[in-house]
């Protein structure tokens, strides 16, 4: 299986009374809380962590896009990815991703992703999220009633821009371009693998199946709630006659590993609480504008116990953050010794049939030293126990196909004077 290292890049210096004094971590968060000099340190620590993860053997490193918030400091993940393309050698560069409807014109995404694929020698995974309502509808002013149509149209435009060799005109509902001729084009043919981060809507499952894309369920609420969603996903794949190749699916999981469970509980309590309290402190008024969810999804949400349970969990966090005991008991964060973590993750991967496992090993206000420790222990003592899973039976058709290693450029060593 594939083990990927995902960075959300949280702002690590929110005050202790943040959730009491401030209504939201997103959209209208008080910008006076942002200290650029501290952010300098954070960005550089975070990039060190991503580079270290690639160096120590994670299959891929993941970045994503969010706006106007202290939950994740990457309005432009492509900037981080560009640096990673130079500072890593073999790891997949997984941009999870660019929210297509936010780019005008969306060919900008085709261009920047093609640049990343060229610079990295074909190591890019192209992620196309719709984007959260906070990011898209409130921060970037997108019309909630048109967001999904605009997203799908932008997707079609980007795909055509990557695969059509001749200059073409695009006459869409939201985008009209007389001359589309994206230059550069990606290394990977016909295009980089596409992964779709989703939250559990049936339409997204169907679309991923139809397009042959990876469906990545990015939940903060662990494998116990994730199981129900992934069961739904695989039932839908069965219904559509698709195989149960586990590499069709991705899942996000927080992990804290130490020599013993007792130590791990002590070490990861603070960063886990910081994340689930402060980073997820999203005012409910930004959470669900009318039109953002399709009517089919709303109907399913009402009808299905599955999704109802998941949205209840979200509400619980929006109105009253979980205790550390809940965080651990409910599996939001998997905590333990290397063997305990490996056992649990094997169960997660097998039960959910997920081949692309995205690990969150830095979260909340976790310091760089602890993030390195967590990452190293995971790479050396957990990963070897998991890596062979699925590999004998299934081909990962959704993994980047880079240029041969010996043909890929090596950045010149820089002498800092």
């Amino acid at each position: 299986m594939k083990l990927l290292w995902f960075h959300l890049m949280p702002y690590t210096d929110l005050p202790d009374d943040f959730t009491k004094k401030h209504a939201s971590v997103w959209v209208d968060i008080d910008s006076r809380l942002f200290d650029p000099a501290k952010a300098h340190g954070m960005y550089n620590d975070f990039m060190d962590e991503l580079e270290f993860a690639a160096e120590i053997g994670f299959d891929g490193v993941c970045v994503n896009e969010h706006h106007q918030n202290a939950y994740g400091l990457m309005p432009s993940p492509n900037i981080i990815a560009a640096s990673l393309a130079r500072r890593t050698r073999d790891a997949a560069i997984v941009v999870m991703g660019n929210s297509l409807a936010l780019y005008n014109p969306p060919t900008r995404v085709a261009e920047e992703f093609a640049m990343l694929d060229c610079i990295s020698g074909g190591r890019l995974v192209a992620g196309f999220p719709v984007g959260t309502p906070m990011d898209t509808v409130f921060c970037y002013g997108q019309n909630p009633s048109q967001l999904r149509e605009k997203y799908l149209e932008a997707h079609d435009l980007v795909m055509k821009a990557w695969t059509e060799p001749d200059t073409f005109a695009f006459n869409g509902r939201f985008n009209q371009l007389r001359y589309v001729n994206t230059w550069p084009k990606p290394v990977q043919k016909p295009h980089p693998p596409v992964w779709i981060p989703g939250g559990g809507s049936i339409e997204t499952w169907r679309w991923c199946a139809e397009m042959d894309y990876v469906y990545a369920y990015l939940s903060y609420f662990g494998y116990k709630l994730g199981q129900a969603t992934m069961d739904g996903f695989w039932a839908e794949m069965d219904r559509l006659g698709k195989d149960r190749n586990p590499f069709r699916a991705g899942f996000l999981q927080f992990v804290g590993v130490a020599e013993t469970r007792k130590e791990a509980l002590e070490m990861y309590k603070e960063p886990a609480e910081y994340f689930f309290n402060r980073c997820l402190h999203v005012d409910a008024r930004w959470a669900n504008p009318a039109g953002y969810s399709s009517e089919a999804t709303i109907r399913a949400r009402v009808a299905s116990q599955v999704v109802a349970a998941a949205s209840k969990a979200t509400d619980a966090v929006a109105y009253g953050p979980p205790s550390f005991e809940e965080i651990v008991d409910k599996g939001y964060v998997i905590i333990g010794s290397p063997d305990e973590v490996a056992d649990q993750l094997r169960e997660v991967a097998v039960n959910m049939n997920v081949g692309q496992l995205m690990m969150l090993l830095q979260y909340g206000n976790m310091k760089k030293e602890l993030a390195f420790y967590n990452t190293e222990l995971f790479a050396k003592r957990v990963a070897p126990q998991l890596k062979p899973l699925f590999e004998d039976k299934w081909e990962d058709r959704w993994w980047p196909k880079p240029l041969p290693r010996e043909e890929r450029a090596l950045p010149r060593a820089v002498v800092v004077r």
Binding site: G141, Q142, P144, R285, W286, P289, A290, I298, V302
Partner: protein, 260 residues
């Protein structure tokens, strides 16, 4: 939802079936409802029907308006749709009462096509945006914040306008809720993000008589906007401020004599 004396028909607009209610006698009077639309005939409409034949076509995406809003991408699409709708409902060239978003659309229609409207009563219309005194954002409210934003009788408003009527099955309640959400989506589709589509630049084209009616307690569009509208309009205007009413003036003060 049937109501004594109300005739319900459907007209075809943009390939969709759109509900039209009619009640009363006398000269026809079109009514375009406000945010949320109408799930049931109201006492306010009854008041108007005392002296007029009240005709209430549903707006695209609002209750009774199906999914028509999903076909409207541009502002021009909305205007053409409104002209089609008024024509189909037999309201071309007639007197119109427009409330909130319905008031904005009525004013836009009058600006684009003078012959389409005889006179206007605009109740707390949206459409102008003064950054020194901006209208509220009606789309980012927690559920418990919406009733006091819209109405000066929030508890009654929540019960009558925002809660499914008693006696519905589980599925019917779900559909009722979806229709409510759809109405908000349809309003968002036209108004997002600020509700300023440039009406200020077109108001001078409105030459018919216009009466502006505002609830003194309107928390969505401040009553000061009555004067802003009046100063942009080209024809004769009157202003009526209704004490004790909020943005949902039809709910808060249903006996208000808005005509004449």
């Amino acid at each position: 939802m049937s109501h004594p004396g109300v005739k319900e028909t459907f007209v075809r607009v943009g390939g969709e079936q759109v509900r039209v209610w009619e009640k009363g006698s006398g000269a026809p009077l079109g009514v375009l409802a406000g945010l949320g639309g109408l799930n049931a005939w109201t006492p306010f409409l009854d008041e108007l029907a005392q002296s007029r034949t009240v005709i209430v076509p549903s707006l695209p995406g609002f209750p009774g308006g199906g999914l028509l809003h999903k076909k409207l991408d541009t502002f021009a699409d909305w205007i053409i749709c409104m002209l089609d709708l008024l024509e189909a409902a037999g309201l071309e060239g007639k007197d119109l009462v427009g409330h909130s978003i319905g008031g904005m659309l009525a004013a836009e229609v009058a600006a684009f096509s003078r012959a389409s409207v005889k006179s206007l009563v605009l109740i707390a219309p949206l459409g102008l945006y003064d950054e020194k005194d901006p209208p509220a954002d009606p789309f980012n409210r927690r559920a418990n914040e919406l009733p006091p934003l819209l109405s000066t009788k929030p508890a009654e408003f929540a019960k009558e306008r925002l809660t499914p009527p008693a006696g519905l099955s589980g599925d019917e309640q779900t559909e009722w809720t979806i229709v409510q959400i759809r109405a908000t989506e349809a309003a968002s589709r036209l108004l997002w993000p600020l509700g300023d589509l440039g009406l200020a630049r077109r108001l001078h084209r409105v030459t018919c008589p216009v009466k502006l009616v505002w609830g003194a307690g309107d928390r969505v569009v401040p009553p000061s906007y009555a004067q802003k509208f009046a100063s942009g309009l080209a024809g004769p205007t009157q202003i009526q401020i209704v004490p004790g009413a909020g943005h949902a003036l039809d709910f808060d003060a249903p006996r208000t004599a808005v005509l004449g």
